[in-house]
């Protein structure tokens, strides 16, 4: 029996402990936002956060996330208003969109550690997330924009005590 937290909800799983986290999320808990790309940890489409760190769910066993806290694209915000989602929307990053959940999750993890990343820091952090459509230029712009939205939201929150969500809408 594996017990874990997914997007803030306590969950348990009594199937094969070797099942990759990706399929646990998609098939057991019906969270289809996390994508299967290569199944070998090479493309980044399956990126989720494990205790806040970006990880490839396709090569992470269910047993290895026991007691841990998982965040998927569905858990970033209740309504798509996370600064990264807002920035991605504003810049209209996706084409086919298949890799973008993974891209957004990797970017969020970067921004948590590096609130104002340089181009080089973005390229380095995002290098493991492939995009067949070639949306890399817009991804980089969106990471910069997400950084702006995050910092303006933080400043506004400090000034007024308002919620991040409300301020993102103002910032847009």
């Amino acid at each position: 029996m594996v017990k874990l937290s997914i997007n803030g909800k306590q969950r348990q799983f009594d199937g094969d402990p070797d099942m990759p986290l990706l399929w646990l999320l998609r098939d057991e808990f019906d969270l289809k936002g996390t994508k299967f790309g290569c199944g070998m940890g090479l493309c980044g489409a399956c990126t989720v956060h494990i205790n806040g760190e970006p990880a490839r769910s396709c090569v992470t066993r269910a047993a290895d996330v026991a007691g841990k806290s998982i965040t998927t694209i569905e858990g970033l915000s209740p309504d798509g208003s996370h600064p990264a989602q807002a920035a991605w929307d504003e810049i209209d990053v996706p084409q086919c969109g298949y890799c973008q959940a993974g891209q957004v999750m990797t970017a969020c993890a970067l921004l948590k550690k590096t609130p104002k990343p340089t181009d080089a820091e973005i390229d380095s952090a995002m290098a493991g997330n492939l995009c067949r459509c070639g949306t890399y230029v817009r991804i980089r712009a969106a990471v910069h924009r997400a950084a702006e939205l995050s910092s303006s939201a933080t400043m506004a929150r400090k000034a007024t005590g308002a919620s991040v969500r409300g301020n993102n809408e103002v910032a847009k």
């Binding site: 199937g15 094969d16 289809k32 936002g33 209209d92």
Partner: protein, 256 residues
Amino acid sequence: MNMNRRFFLRASAVAGGGFMLSLVPELKAQGFPGAQQALLPKDFISIAPDGTTTLVAKNQELGQGALNLLPMMIAEELDVDWKAVRIVRSGVGPQYGGQITGGSSATPSNWEPMRRIGAAARQMLIAAAAQTWGVPAEECTTASGVVHHPASNRSLTYGELAAKAATMPVPQLPSLKLKDPKDYKIVGKSTAGAETKQILTGKPIFGIDVTLPGMLYAAFEKSPVVSGRVVSANLDAVKSLKGVKDAFIIEPEFRS
């Protein structure tokens, strides 16, 4: 075989030529005229009383923007404001003609048919307005989802006309006059992705996300060599795994 650069180029040329040939029936199937079934405005356009215009994107989205492009062609000739447009996927059906996105065929092959669909619906809206006002259709103009009769300074929105327009005869598509490209308001402009918000919130919009009642998943272990045959397989062990319904060997169809 030694796949050197020269060989590669030659093989590409052949593959490219073959591909171009294979596009011919595809173009015919998607195109107009020559489509096996006439495309009808009702399968592509619906206008709500508030003017919200739902346009059907009949070709698949693979990242090229087909989901936007085809509705943009319809909207251009329909003469609606792009802000009033909602894009929906068509699903699959013979009423949509060819639905393949690939080989750079979706845009050129749908360029004329989609515009004619939009122009046909516009003409039906004009006919509805002209009949309502008792004026010749030729005296009516359109702009951003409204039919005007300048001579009498009257206007009706597409939303107000939609129900009546649906009862008007569908014009012959080849007879319709299309816009001069210099008058384009939507085609040639950048439009936001139709499914961007769904993509960014992880909504199940991809083929891999579809689940059906009783659906099973199949996994296929391919032979590492051409025409390889299975020597042994632990099928009973596989079948005994939790959740596994069956395991079996597929014999190769062609053997060298």
